[in-house]
């Protein structure tokens, strides 16, 4: 169960190798969380994480999860619940960034990124919501991106998939009102991870640890929308309303 301070006792991560998600899991484990299931495409890829969690006394396991296989998502959620009981929190952390110039040359690859980031979030999000409704509680933590707040020329495929996911997650959250379950949207800015290695950091770039701190703080305060770091909330209130020519200039950096 979730407690009054936003701590949970079990968590399922879809996209179990996400550095942001694992930084969040580390903090949950340090508080009340004793059960963790990592949904990953290949369980072997999560061995190190699994061993680390287990050595700190956590009942941890992996489960095969493929964002590109929507038909399997409900079964994955059920299997995770069979393994650890009530799912107090489900983190939707999977996603691909891709390279805009490559997407421009390969529309099929771009469509696949959209299937992972958006379509995968839709099917896994709805399957999770059905489970949480039935158990009468639980938090979906949907990790979107500030890139979805306003698309820009150099990453609009990624940005638009995250915009879709963000809108979906907000609507899902609203649809869950009154059920005991809820959906919290996390909007990170630029994060230093494997995914962004070699890229030029945007302003207010943060580490996964900083993002996770902001998430834990937002959960404790019962927020529906968590900007990470929080300053991005103010920044994007302005950026969102800039005239397009000006936005083009700024976002081209």
């Amino acid at each position: 169960m979730r407690d009054a301070l936003g701590s949970v006792q079990s968590v399922l991560v879809l996209g179990g190798n996400s550095e942001i998600a694992l930084a969040i899991v580390d903090r949950l484990v340090a508080s009340r969380c004793k059960k963790v299931v990592l949904g990953v495409r290949s369980p072997a890829s999560a061995t190190t994480t699994l061993n680390r969690l287990r050595s700190s006394g956590v009942d941890a396991d992996t489960i095969v999860f493929d964002a590109l296989d929507p038909a399997s998502h409900a079964k994955v959620i059920d299997a995770a619940a069979d393994r650890i009981g009530d799912l107090d929190m489900v983190i939707l952390a999977f996603g691909v960034l891709g390279e805009q110039s490559e997407f421009n040359a390969d529309p099929v690859a771009a469509a696949e990124a959209a299937r992972v980031n958006f379509v995968g979030a839709v099917s896994s999000g709805l399957a999770t919501a059905a489970k949480l409704r039935a158990q009468g509680h639980g938090t979906i933590l949907a990790i979107t991106s500030v890139a979805g707040v306003r698309a820009r020329a150099d990453n609009f495929v990624y940005g638009s998939t995250k915009a879709g996911m963000d809108a979906f997650a907000q609507g899902l959250g609203d649809s869950l009102i009154g059920s005991g379950a809820r959906c919290v949207v996390v909007r990170p800015g630029f994060v230093h991870t494997r995914m962004t290695e070699g890229m030029k950091p945007a302003p207010f770039a943060a580490t996964p640890d900083k993002i996770a701190d902001a998430v834990i703080n937002g959960l404790q305060k019962n927020k529906e929308m968590i900007w990470a770091p929080p300053i991005l909330s103010t920044l994007f209130t302005i950026l969102r309303h800039l005239p397009r020519p000006l936005w083009r200039k700024i976002s081209a950096g």
Partner: protein
């Protein structure tokens, strides 16, 4: 003027429920039976996620909610009978449905020269809740907790059967139900002893204490002279003011003592809610500064020493009930209450805790400090001889979780415990240490509910 919703709803419907702290709501199939027969028939046919009874929802945390399962709200089954008695006896027996509130009881009892055996800081609690949490009040040092005054009760077990239990009839099940957080079955009604009073007024002595040592000494030396005693302590005061308190103690006045204030009818009783808290409060209105200022004002306003002041029952016992829905003032993140008891010989731990809270800058309105008398045989009953401190804290405060975890360790270290009816966040692994007779309780539960049909979010969270 009753806060209980008037609409009756026997048909199940899914609703979100939370405790008084407004944290961690969950969804359940909520049933609201309107008669004792309906109540007994309200048990679900499927127990996949169990069942818990709920009264007026004054538990701070998740004790009266049951995610994905069934919750039976008992407040529409609220009849009671005052039994005939020998006018020379000190007490009168009252039989009340579990859903009857202390508020309703007082409206009937006080005009007849009677009072409830125990009242907490709010009169909006039900008889069922009073038993399930084994509530205590300002008279604990002399009279113990609610279940000390219960002669018998009817309990519907998870298999649907109804049993009558009491201190002399299946005492194991009775005492497991006392403070058992509703997990031994649905309490249907109870018979308890109500004391006679000389008037509806109290004679109150107030003492202002400069610090924690001073207030503890006042209570140690003088509490036995008063029927009711409690201290309000300012946990935001630091330095030499740390632990400064206002101690109020009193007893019921006789008819002649009360007459100058209330006139001929010694049992006149008016208890109304005066104002409502606004339905929506912006986050951050109650901050460190505003609460500090409030606490300062409150302390300076109190007399240094005042004797024999006449106060009404609502003023003395239920001051917060004057503001309907005051729990909303903490804003959207909600709040929690942390209440512990530690043995008298651990007074230094009390000082350490007060110091830690004061120094943490943790925003807290006035806290309540009281000295408890001995506990009763209930394995999960909270009160035990020692100091108890209760404080409300908004949940949004950074670092609150680790701070309270540290303080829990301190409490456990000196043989203390926290109060389950207030809890919304304790580490489950501390429970067997706080309640060393937990296994005894579990054995009784195993006997009456082997399939764990009685279930609440609190039970899930703490692995009860």
């Amino acid at each position: 003027m009753h806060p209980e919703p008037a609409a009756s709803r026997a048909v199940p419907s899914t609703s979100e429920l939370f405790g008084w702290g407004r944290t961690a709501p969950t969804g359940a199939d909520v049933r609201r039976p309107t008669s004792p027969i309906e109540l007994q028939r309200a048990l679900p046919t499927s127990f996949e996620r169990g069942l818990i009874a709920r009264g007026l929802g004054r538990s701070y945390g998740d004790a009266a909610q049951n995610a994905g399962g069934t919750v039976i709200e008992t407040t529409d089954v609220a009849a009671f009978t005052i039994h005939a008695s020998d006018p020379n006896s000190d007490t009168v027996l009252v039989t009340a449905d579990a859903g009857a509130s202390i508020d309703r009881l007082l409206h009937a009892l006080v005009p007849q020269g009677l009072f409830v055996p125990v009242t907490p800081g709010t009169r909006y609690v039900t008889v069922g809740g009073a038993i399930a949490a084994d509530i205590h009040g300002k008279n604990h040092h002399l009279k113990g907790s609610w279940c000390n005054h219960v002669a018998s009760l009817h309990l519907q077990l998870a298999d649907g059967s109804v049993v009558e239990v009491g201190p002399d009839r299946d005492p194991e099940l009775f005492w497991a139900t006392a403070g058992g957080m509703g997990l031994t079955g649905v309490i249907l009604d109870a018979t308890f002893r109500c004391p006679r009073i000389g008037s509806s007024q109290l004679l109150v002595d107030t003492d202002r204490a400069a610090d924690l040592d001073a207030v503890c000494e006042l209570m140690r030396s003088g509490d036995h002279l008063y029927d009711y005693s409690v201290a309000w302590i300012d946990l935001m005061a630091t330095g030499k003011n740390m632990g400064r308190s206002v101690l109020t103690r009193g007893r019921f006045a006789s008819a002649s003592e009360a007459a100058p204030k209330i006139g001929a009818d010694p049992y006149v009783y008016k208890a109304n809610e005066l104002v409502s808290a606004p339905p929506f409060m912006p986050a951050g209105l109650l901050n460190n500064l505003s609460i500090r200022a409030f606490n300062e004002l409150w302390f300076r306003k109190a007399p240094v020493e005042r004797r024999n002041e006449i106060q009404s029952i609502p003023t003395f016992f239920h001051p917060l009930d004057m503001v309907r829905g005051w729990n909303r003032i903490y804003g959207p993140a909600g709040f929690l209450q942390w209440q512990f008891v530690i043995p008298f010989d651990a007074t230094s731990a009390l000082a350490t805790i007060v110091e830690e809270i004061s120094r943490s800058g943790c925003t807290s309105f006035l806290a309540v400090l009281k000295s408890f008398g001995e506990g009763n045989p209930g394995p999960l009953s909270f009160p035990a001889g020692g100091w108890t401190l209760a404080l409300d804290i908004p949940t949004g405060i950074q670092g609150l979780g680790p701070l309270l975890d540290r303080l829990d360790d301190l409490v456990v270290g000196v043989g203390g415990r926290i109060y389950l009816a207030k809890d919304s966040r304790v580490r489950p692994e501390l429970l067997p240490e706080m309640y060393p007779r937990l296994n005894e309780w579990r054995e009784v539960r195993e006997r009456v509910d082997p399939n764990r049909r009685m279930m609440s979010d609190l039970a899930r969270r703490l692995g009860l």
